[in-house]
Symmetry: C2
Subunit: 125 residues, 2 copies
């Protein structure tokens, strides 16, 4: 029984590797102003757990996206606590997001076709 | 411009890490008899390129799934060439596949909700 859990955790981790970055870029592309980490996590709500396991897993991904030039960030003081790092998507980030969405859509449609053999492609077997 | 390609390749690689295993298990779960690598690749048709990049990328994944106990395999002589390794899904493989499908469905639905902000959850922003 432990084996199954191990396989599931590994699968979820692999699946989240790409999708967390995709989801973060998409949220910031839709945002009308820069957002800080906790705002983004709240925007994703419980769904963050679906792809990232826990909210804290979002922060290293935000840093990686910034380091890659897909996000810009700026630290601003906060009246209610420590300074916050605000993120916004860059022009490169928007270009990359469009490509990622196309890639996601193609992969998703292919996987769904294989999982449901009643569709034409699945019926080839 | 090279940057965008690099980001896209990295994203596709991350996305395929989990989905190739999922797709291979699903094909073998649907199969009525053991299949060898080339048969599976043909069954996936062009879609194999979508998730795996190229067909040869399927073989190490088949070996990994076997090593993990999710597939059984057996080498059989072939009349038309070298012996072939035939794969079939194990009981553990079927249990794990059901969990992976549930995980895939939850992740897919969450990503699609974030990508399309006209849906109720996306509208929270």
């Amino acid at each position: 029984m432990g084996d199954e859990d191990l396989h599931l955790r590994k699968f979820q981790k692999e699946l989240s590797a790409g999708t967390v970055s995709l989801v973060l870029l998409a949220v910031l592309a839709q945002a009308t102003e820069p957002m800080y980490g906790y705002q983004i996590a709240k925007r994703l709500d419980d769904g963050a757990g679906v792809v990232a396991g826990k909210q804290s897993a979002l922060y290293p991904v935000l840093r990686n996206l910034s380091a890659a030039g897909l996000l810009d960030s700026e630290v601003e003081p906060s009246v209610s606590g420590p300074p916050r790092r605000y993120y916004r998507i860059t022009t490169l980030g928007r270009i990359v997001l469009a490509q990622w969405i196309a890639s996601w859509t193609a992969t998703r449609d292919f996987v769904d076709t294989v999982l449901d053999p009643s569709t034409p492609q699945g019926a080839q077997a």
